[in-house]
Symmetry: C2
């Protein structure tokens, strides 16, 4: 037995035991455990609703930033860093916006021993910072489209219960803000944002989602139209991932953003904004890909791609592990497990951590010039000749991401259910699905039916698909003629 | 003449005219102009002391983050993201620290319509956030060294005049925090931090500096010993770049960070912290490398490495520019200048922006299969065969950074002057130099002489070099026996 004093954080038995519940049986507890046991975030920071993101999630989220920023820059967005603080007068300029956000704003009122002349908001989102500068910078149609973004944290005094990654009072995101000469250009931007979401969140991060246009009563404060991607959790609740908003001319008017068009006339540009929240995307990566052994990651965003596990501390094994790491070089990020845990504990640890490839190294392997390799995407051990290692890694890099994406897509598709009335909607939701049904109207006059759904079923109308689906027959709630096909789900 | 309405931001004549003053003649004005004309930061954001960082500086600072984080991770620092907010009670735990920082703290007191139970600080630095968690995480000698860092913004209510990049109320930095089992390990960490600074700030960013141990009266609030790198500006003022602090056991005591050592005894770890401020490093990159035409960048951190300038909008030129960009591929970041400015304006623009290589493309060049290339490191045009472009880029990539580093080192070394008394110190400083002299003592009892220097010469004792220089003779100020050789300079 180890002495009490020798018990280090790394030896903490609770962390090595694996998950005590199954994802399918108790999703909520499974999620809490995986966040803690895979050391993704520590909730013991002493400000309510705030937490410390630990290395394993930060490494993954930095990779998310890399792919998101690369995609935005390729589409000619330029990066900016705006101040974290926004003066109250800016927030007050657009009335819907202020009504939507002010209940959630953290206010800086003092500095040193002085009371400030004006309250400063910790940005809850940055429309009112960006567009003030747009008003200074944009003059002519030649300046348009004006495509920008920033990587930043935003702050919201959430009154609902917070959950790590899913809902915190400070979160990490990217916000892209663009000004366009015409409504048509702005609409194209919204489509481009949805395409970016598909290219990055689905094709790289492996997250299946539907991009909905939100109903009239569920728009971003200040937006003409709001579009948002919903990802589905095993408990049947959806998580809103990136949203993109057609703000049109409300903010250009409020912030006096004007340009002289080709025809010599002064006009208001059409503004759009797009916001992928990296720390919330992390939640979906955990939830969508994780299993009963722990995390799983698509290759590109794995915090580490390969773990080499010497099954004892025999110097020959340690030496060999180093040689393999050197051989792999820049092809993959590699960590060698040098802890003094038992082999079984090490195996569990790296399965919990979700490295795509684990190499288990014993003296037998060295002698036979073979490697025992564990693939996390299919949870299988394989034996390969050491000489084939590089090609094997290249193959698994591709295959494992594709496998995770396919598994996730298949599950997601199987969980969209067609429904005809309240009873069927309720049943579908109880089975953890998203319900699709005919609906009277996503304009103002349909809000009553949405309220019925909220009260009686505890779910919300997520909206219509972009590629409009043809409604036929009657609204599943009020029996009036249906104008749209909508999707209904529970949310957090 | 263009119509008023057609005047776009990009056409703004003031931006294309180049700098109106010479760096050597009016450094302060040169700096203000270059920040504005190269579009690095906009000071018109409407909160005092805060500014908007524009794409050209953000692209460079993102590269700085890349190299700094890579170096830290290679040295086994793990990345964290801590909350931006620190509760007042944490700040109050270490008395020297609170005394040093509280006059500069921005306070969040309200959220939504509610007054918070406890004031929350916008972090001025994060010792009091990190070490609270160290107290939870660290248990055994096996957990040590515990090496962490975060990329973050910090906030200080500066009362001195702010200057873009040099001193703002919000700045972008990295802070690394480590806990060690022994003082010796902590001292090694301080040396490692200095080595990291050399490897990244000097060898990649091209900044010459001296790492000083600060005198007893100029330590970081709460530190036992403080070490900091000073970079010299043309006006003879020094800018403090990364500092590293031996905090020893004061904070571990204040935050109850304890570990059980190999001998079974409970001990306080020795803590160190290190802080390279990326937005301030940007100031030194602008200042050290910039010339009378504008910015210059070492290859690795240039926002764009190559600009291709078609000298007219002939479709053949545009097509060729695209082909060259494809050919260069991932070897360098390339921007094609598609504006309708005159060639001369385009040339000035890219010299102001500091791209290391500019390719001027005319029909003559296409016909002759040659390229006219402008190298910004030596401000020279060269003609090369098109077929040699890739090798040429590889060559210039290496040479241009080396040239900038050499130029900077040479200038820096020529500006350290040996001095014997107040008169000579004053003279050296007036010539824009750092004065080296014998000094009575950098311990408490030397503070009087430091005050004399401050009052009579308007300069500060920066400290002693790490590789201790042998003092001989008498203190340049008080004529008592000198114990150290110190360096004296003006600061901002």
């Amino acid at each position: 037995m180890a002495k009490q004093g020798e018990k280090s954080k790394k030896d903490d038995i609770s962390k090595l035991k694996g998950l005590s519940v199954k994802k399918a049986e108790n999703f909520s507890e499974w999620y809490s455990e995986i966040v803690q046991k895979a050391e993704l975030a520590d909730l013991r920071y002493n400000v309510k609703g705030f937490l410390v993101f630990q290395p394993w999630s930060v490494l993954c989220m930095e990779k998310m930033y890399y792919y998101l920023e690369k995609a935005l820059q390729q589409k000619n967005h330029k990066p900016y860093w705006y101040p974290t603080l926004i003066p109250e007068k800016n927030l007050l300029k657009e009335s819907e916006h202020i009504a939507g956000f002010v209940p959630e704003v953290f206010w800086v009122t003092n500095a040193g021993k002085k009371k400030l002349d004006e309250k400063l908001a910790l940005r809850p989102t940055s429309e009112t910072a960006f567009y003030q500068m747009f008003g200074i910078w944009i003059r002519s149609y030649k300046d348009l489209p004006f495509k920008t973004y920033q990587r930043a944290q935003v702050f919201r005094y959430e009154t609902k219960a917070t959950r790590p990654f899913l809902r915190s009072r400070e979160f990490h995101w990217i916000e892209a803000h663009c000004a366009h000469a015409t409504l048509k250009h702005a609409e194209s931007q919204v489509k481009e944002d949805m395409q970016t979401t598909k290219e990055v969140l689905h094709d790289i991060f492996g997250l299946p989602f539907i991009f909905f246009e939100r109903p009239a009563w569920d728009k971003f404060p200040g937006a003409d139209r709001t579009f948002a991607a919903d990802v589905l959790n095993p408990d049947g609740r959806v998580v809103q991932q990136p949203s993109t908003h057609l703000l049109s001319q409300k903010f250009s008017k409020a912030f006096n953003v004007k340009f002289i068009d080709k025809d010599g006339k002064e006009k208001l540009p059409f503004i759009t904004c797009y916001g992928p929240a990296v720390s919330r995307i992390m939640a979906s990566v955990i939830i969508v890909h994780g299993d009963d052994k722990g995390l799983r990651f698509p290759w590109e965003i794995a915090p580490r791609q390969i773990a080499i596990v010497p099954i004892s501390n025999d110097p020959k094994l340690i030496k060999k592990a180093g040689e393999l790491k050197n051989k792999i070089g820049d092809l993959a990020s590699v960590e060698i497990d040098l802890t003094d845990r038992f082999p079984g504990e090490k195996f569990n640890y790296w399965e919990m951590k979700g490295v795509p490839i684990r190499i288990d190294l014993g003296l037998k392997e060295i002698k036979q010039k073979k490697l025992t390799v564990f693939r996390r995407d299919i949870n299988k051990k394989e034996t390969i000749p050491e000489s084939k290692l590089i090609n094997y890694i290249k193959k698994v890099a591709k295959e494992s991401s594709q496998n995770l994406i396919k598994q996730a897509d298949k599950l997601f598709e199987s969980r969209i259910k067609d429904t005809k009335n309240s009873e069927e909607i309720k049943l579908a939701l109880e089975q953890g699905a998203i319900a699709r049904c005919n609906f009277c109207s996503v304009e103002k006059d349909g809000e009553k039916c949405a309220e019925v759904i909220e009260k009686q079923i505890g779910a919300t109308v997520r909206g219509t698909k972009l590629e409009k689906e043809k409604a036929s027959g009657k609204c599943a709630i009020c029996n009036k003629k249906a104008k749209q096909v909508v999707y209904i789900a529970r949310q957090y």
